[in-house]
């Protein structure tokens, strides 16, 4: 269950990206998860929902796209 660690790192990167793009509230977080990344999408989604907090990311919904290889990237943010 390293998805908790992955979700924690994802929220950190999303928080930095939101700040650099001037987003005060993020609605959706797009993440690419490679089929060989060793990350289980359901477990990542659950960990993300448990760990998200605060005014910027507290209501963000995770949008997981399948990808090739061992890709594991924060792809995009949607918000205001």
């Amino acid at each position: 269950m390293h998805e908790v660690s992955i979700a924690d790192a994802l929220l950190t990167e999303a928080s930095l990206a939101a700040a650099s793009h001037g987003l005060r509230a993020v609605n959706r977080v797009g993440v690419r998860v490679g089929r060989l990344s060793g990350v289980a999408a359901e477990a990542l989604a659950m960990a993300f929902e448990i760990l998200r907090e605060g005014p910027v990311l507290g209501r963000a919904v995770l949008d997981i796209e399948d990808a090739d290889g061992d890709d594991l990237r924060l792809a995009w943010l949607e918000g205001e």
């Binding site: 790192a9 990167e13 060793g38 061992d70 990237r73 943010l77």
Partner: protein, 218 residues
């Protein structure tokens, strides 16, 4: 408003891993990340490896476990400088990360080492995602685990620079098929396969020659 970001999720870990790699390169140390299930024999392989490398190369070890310092004590008894990481102290992590390794490195005298083995927490899934700053990964599988492991854990085997199949002395006692194992392995990687027994010592020479060659060419 939608903004494109495209940033590695483990960017912070990867940055620390680069620091670790730079430290190791400056000291001329080859670092190998050993990944395998609990009980696959990672520590036993390292005990044998240390003894056989000793006349030529000096091995140091970072041991990763959820609890106890047993593995570091085993390697210490073999005369190997060994540092234990107990992940129970950092949230029971099921894998090592670059931050843990960077901290552990400060407890080793790198100029006294040629090869650093980082034995990851026993787990065939979670450690695969984390770059520790190693130069190469070795997956340790073993006969009693069954011949289907490369099929079931492709992301772990695919990133290995070499694969060890340990406990081949048990082959006559099991229905393990070497053909099935090799076929599964070749679906995901062309990495060399070393079949050996850390218990009897059989098959260790090609593995030791490979490690020695990797260190020499670096």
């Amino acid at each position: 408003m939608r903004v494109e970001v495209v940033e590695r999720v483990l960017r912070a870990n990867d940055a620390l891993a680069e620091e670790v790699r730079a430290t190791l390169d400056a000291a001329g140390v080859l670092a190998v990340n050993f990944i395998g299930s609990p009980g696959s024999g990672k520590t036993a392989v390292l005990e044998r490896t240390a003894a056989l490398l000793r006349p030529h190369l000096r091995l140091g070890v970072i041991e990763g476990d959820i609890a106890t310092t047993r593995d570091a004590e085993r390697l210490s008894r073999c005369g190997v400088p060994a540092v234990q990481i107990e992940t129970r102290l950092v949230g029971n992590a099921c894998h090592l990360d670059a931050h843990l390794v960077r901290t552990a490195l400060t407890r080793l005298v790198l100029r006294d080492l040629d090869v650093l083995a980082i034995e990851n927490v026993g787990n065939l899934v979670c450690p695969a995602a984390y770059n520790l700053g190693e130069h190469m990964r070795v997956v340790v599988a073993s006969v009693p685990e069954g011949d289907d492991k490369p099929w079931k854990y492709p992301s772990t085997f695919a990133r290995a620079s070499a694969v060890i199949l340990n406990k081949i002395d048990l082959l006559p006692l099991t229905n393990f098929s070497m053909d099935a194992f090799t076929e599964g392995l070749r679906q995901v990687t062309e990495a060399p396969l070393f079949t050996l027994s850390a218990s009897t010592g059989e098959g260790l020479r090609p593995w030791i020659e490979w490690v020695t060659g990797q260190r020499r060419t670096r």
